[in-house]
Subunit: 331 residues, 2 copies
């Protein structure tokens, strides 16, 4: 089968022929119709991730059809249109992943290929209102956003939320999920075109975080938010506390700007704020996310589609942070 | 009546005769038998607090007897032995205090006096197992510790907790409360004599935070904790994340070392950690704290007792961070 293989850290992916996977009894083979890129894939290819094993096939997001099963008992699954839960071994505690946890697409071979094998309990029916490209955009980013917004962030109708840095896939889903429950949603970006695009999608207000007074302006115009979703960290993090209402939650799922250098304990304790770290989500979160997306008929923002043959161009595009929404790979 | 008056910021307290308070209909007059010092009193006297009004009588902690009531309907309260809830106007949201919130002892006249007037709903029966000096040690620090350990920190029997900086009053109560529910309790201090005293009180292990590898040693010996209680902040804060178990809570109620300068978002999100700010506690927390202290027969650690005439010496003692437990003022 054709697959995009990372042979060594720091190299481009090599689109080549590799052996089709052999199934265990509890596994199914999914023919990938569409997959999608996450920052995780980029980090691994550059060597900026823990415990990298090569060669490997990256890719955590995939949607397609079940074309083979490891056991006749599973025959009823054949032909099903599915999306894949990228979690392996989350474990039995909803609050955190187990020590055995990993994510589809390194070390296990992932979705940047014609076929992927997964355990049968990893596949879920593709939401009916989504085509395969939209469905492929959903798993990892949708799961991360769902846990950030609801499981950890406890967002409620009518509350105010700021999505700090609106370009990426998780931020997009966070935006869509927050709008879907009737929250007021504010965004930041360093790029005016992304702020404009967010307003076109229904953002209540947008702020350019390169303007050093953006948080004062937000306070003046909005009067504080109940929830902040951040993946930057860095020296801008301290300002996020200043725009939060008492009792507010700041949920962080990334740290692209590095260590937080100016966090005020006084603001934190006096306003009774909560800073909540989150990554991925449990299998329960995944199921809840799918049900929510289906109920609210949420459509992922698909920015661009590349073919598997052009996957390195897609990596460059995401690496340059040019995307607004998900970058999808079609078979 | 005799009272210790702060006439101007930066000055010593002046122990002098001032007018006895006049009661409103819903108020009672408490004859103070013992009061206790909190860092808040020191900060206010030095001008390191928001919206200071002088002249004023400081003091948030007090225990004594009701000697007068503002309304004959309240006559049944006369003679009761009480401790005082230092909250004014917490408000109706358990998650945070209202905008009208203040604390007894500036702007309202506090307990460093022969008498204090408070609303009748601020007084609670003195726990029977405590004498007046012990009872006076309880309100502000006990309330803060209770909210930190239970309401925010959700400590459960058998979990591991680190009290970072064991000298102060809140830390002492946090220690006693955690032991009382059967947690394993670890402590840090910069002073070996405080570490020794903690072990004598039943600390499972103690670490000197001046040793830069203390957190590695704790990890090796203890294998991580579920809850950290901190009031320092500063550059040591980042290391606290390294000793936390996945899903752990770091509750912070102070920032004596200033801004946090090296917080890793990666540790925060990958371990699904929660940093929870807290200050004081709601009226509900206060009631729950009193019930808990009575049920578990918890005795506050009273370090030293000074007379009201010598209150400036008591301030110097606390300001020098020499105390281990509460510093009490007797009438």
């Amino acid at each position: 089968m054709i697959a995009a293989v990372l042979e060594k850290i720091g190299e481009r992916l090599r689109v080549s022929n590799i052996e089709k996977p052999t199934l265990l009894q509890d596994e199914v083979l999914v023919e990938i119709i569409a997959s999608a890129i996450n920052h995780r894939d980029i980090y691994i290819s550059k060597g900026e991730y823990a415990a990298i094993k090569t060669p490997c096939v990256l890719g955590s997001d995939g949607a397609g059809k079940i074309v083979k099963v490891g056991n006749p008992v599973l025959n009823n699954h054949l032909g099903k249109e599915v999306i894949i839960n990228p979690n392996n071994n989350w474990g039995d505690n909803e609050n955190f992943q187990s020590n055995n946890y990993d994510i589809l697409g390194m070390p296990t071979y992932g979705t940047f290929a014609q076929f992927v094998k997964v355990k049968v309990d990893r596949v879920h029916e593709k939401p009916k209102h989504l085509n395969f490209k939209e469905a492929a955009a959903l798993p990892l980013a949708g799961l991360t956003a769902y846990r950030a917004i609801f499981t950890k962030g406890k967002l409620e109708t009518g509350q105010k939320v700021l999505i700090n840095g609106i370009g990426g896939g998780v931020a997009q889903f966070a935006f869509l999920f927050a709008k879907a429950v009737g929250a007021e949603v504010f965004v930041t970006s360093g790029k005016t075109e992304k702020l404009q695009a967010s307003k076109d999608m229904g953002a209540d207000k947008g702020y350019n975080y390169k303007d050093e007074n953006w948080h004062k302006q937000l306070n003046a115009e909005v009067g504080g938010v109940d929830l902040v979703i951040d993946s930057a960290g860095g020296e801008g993090f301290g300002n996020l506390l200043k725009i939060m209402n008492p009792g507010g939650r700041l949920v962080t799922y990334g740290g692209t700007r590095g260590k937080v250098t100016n966090l005020s304990p006084q603001i934190l304790f006096w306003k009774q704020l909560n800073i909540l770290g989150t990554t991925m989500g449990s299998d329960e979160d995944f199921k809840n996310m799918l049900a929510f997306v289906s109920e609210k008929k949420i459509k992922p923002t698909v920015d661009k589609v590349f073919t598997l043959a052009n996957i390195n161009k897609a990596f460059d595009y995401v690496n340059a942070q040019r995307q607004f929404g998900k970058v999808v790979i079609s078979a």
